[in-house]
């Protein structure tokens, strides 16, 4: 099919429909409103469910319910709304329920602002809820990638029986780009959902969806089972992209929209004769640690660029087993780093003027 020009939020909504999402539960918040608005119009056309919940908390608990009943289900929100969903997300992980959560990030903390941001990196990758759990977290950089990953994310969620977070910034939600909604995406090998509690026990034993284990040994066993899942994600499901990496002397590490700006920056840098590569994490959990061991030996410096005060730095430091010097450039509060700023920062580093 040919490409259509769509707004990010609407394209993501349509991608979910294409993925067979049976139900959406959400609550309005800028800058993701076009997503539920689109679904409010289109889900009924497919005989699917759209419910505007009374709050983000209700929405995530509806997702929890529908997922427990075996449905493919989606919610979306933006930063403060995602903060409110933390208990519910922890419940989903604890009860091993699949589901897709889209966070169209805006500036914080508190009410913050409504402009694009990546200030929820830690909330997303470290688990803002209680207990030992993680979310498989994808951070697309273009609308096409967002669409493709969302289509795949429902499979991923079902495969791991774990919520999947789609982490995009307000730029991706608000921009329009031509996108092909029918591109093939990988199909995961899914087992039938024999564990669902949808009320229909005519031909099976009763099922229970639960995260309570009053006996500590049971709860430890359960935690160990979950940990295996996260270890499996870490071992075999890291995703990233290398851009212009051959013979790179410096590598920019950036995800989401910021990596696009970095792409423009390395073009300018290349004109100036500087070999700058990009390591673009596609999964931010599991973090693509493996990529660091594959960096060419020519790399002498790492530069992390984010729309936050440096939330990804922890992961870079942990992954940086070669001990390369790490610099950081970030803009926050809705300000998007400019191509020139990145270029300048790189020049500063390779010029040896300042290492952090």
């Amino acid at each position: 099919m040919s490409k259509v020009l769509m707004k990010g939020n609407e394209a993501m909504a349509l991608a979910a429909i294409k993925a067979g999402c049976e139900a959406f539960y959400g609550y309005p918040i800028t800058p993701q409103n076009e997503l539920p608005e689109y679904l409010s119009k289109h889900m009924p056309l497919y005989n699917r469910v759209f419910v505007q919940a009374e709050s983000e908390i209700a929405a995530i608990n509806m997702v929890y319910g529908a997922a427990g009943a075996g449905a493919r289900v989606l919610t979306s929100s933006s930063s403060p709304g995602i903060a409110l969903k933390q208990e519910g997300i922890s419940y989903m992980a604890g009860s091993e329920l699949p589901g897709v959560i889209i966070n169209v990030m805006r500036g914080g903390p508190g009410l913050g602002g409504i402009q694009p941001s990546q200030a929820d990196y830690k909330q997303i990758t470290r688990g803002g809820g209680n207990g030992d759990y993680y979310l498989y977290s994808l951070a697309p950089e273009t609308l096409q990638e967002a669409v493709d990953l969302i289509k795949e994310s429902f499979d991923i969620a079902d495969y791991f029986r774990n919520p999947v977070m789609i982490a995009v910034d307000g730029l991706i939600g608000q921009m329009m780009e031509p996108v092909d909604l029918d591109r093939e995406v990988p199909k995961w090998d899914l087992k039938p959902k024999t564990w669902i509690a949808d009320g229909n026990t005519k031909n099976r034993k009763k099922n229970v969806i639960n995260s309570l284990y009053l006996d500590p040994q049971d709860l430890e066993d359960h935690n160990m089972k979950l940990k295996e899942k996260y270890d499996e994600m870490r071992a075999n499901h890291q995703r990233y992209e290398f851009i212009n990496m051959e013979n790179a002397e410096i590598v920019i590490i950036a995800y989401g929209s910021v990596s696009r700006i970095a792409r423009s920056a390395i073009e300018i840098l290349s004109e100036k004769g500087i070999k700058c590569g990009i390591l673009r994490p596609i999964t931010i959990f599991p973090y693509p640690k493996k990529a660091f061991s594959k960096l060419p030996l020519t790399v002498k410096n790492l530069l992390v660029v984010e729309m936050s005060t440096g939330q990804m730095l922890d992961d870079v430091i942990i992954s940086n087993e070669r001990g390369l010097p790490i610099s950081f450039f970030g803009r926050v509060g809705g300000i998007v780093p400019e191509v020139e700023e990145i270029v300048e920062k790189v020049l500063e580093i390779v010029g040896g003027e300042k290492h952090e």
Binding site: K3, L5, Q174, M175, M176, E177, R260, I261, S264
Partner: protein
Amino acid sequence: MISEKVIIAGFGGQGVMLMGQLLSYTATAKDLNTLWFPSYGPETRGGTANCSITISESNVNSPVISTPDSIIIMNKPSLDKFQPKLKSGGHLFLNTSLVKDVVLREDVNVHNVDANDIAIELGNLKVANMVMLGAYLEVTKVFDAESVLKVLKKKFTGSKASLIEINKEALEAGKKAVL
């Protein structure tokens, strides 16, 4: 090779977003790469608004435009904000119905269009944006007005179909304004 970066800016309600989207829709129809990105001012209502449009045969990377090739300016605050960013030798399209007595850069091509006045003359203030767009297309030749009109026809269906004629006239009038 087409590679155009344009910023369109004005008050909320002046139709700057639609203008930009029309460009991106037209690009998509021509199988070009394109990216449209909106930005609203800090005010909830009645503030300024702008959008950035990139049109390119190769991939579009940065969604933000630091140095636009052209800027279409619908009001005074937008001129103050974006004139400094315009690339040297770039095109500045100015709605002179609203922006008067201003200092303009010498190293850019300024195109004055009395867009509001022309639109009122055409019978609908709302098409001032299309007047500006007509002028822009005429000067930059990014697309011909025909292609844009084709897209417009696709988008304006039902009750809006009646508006196509005046929009067409507005595009024409804008073109003439910079002839």
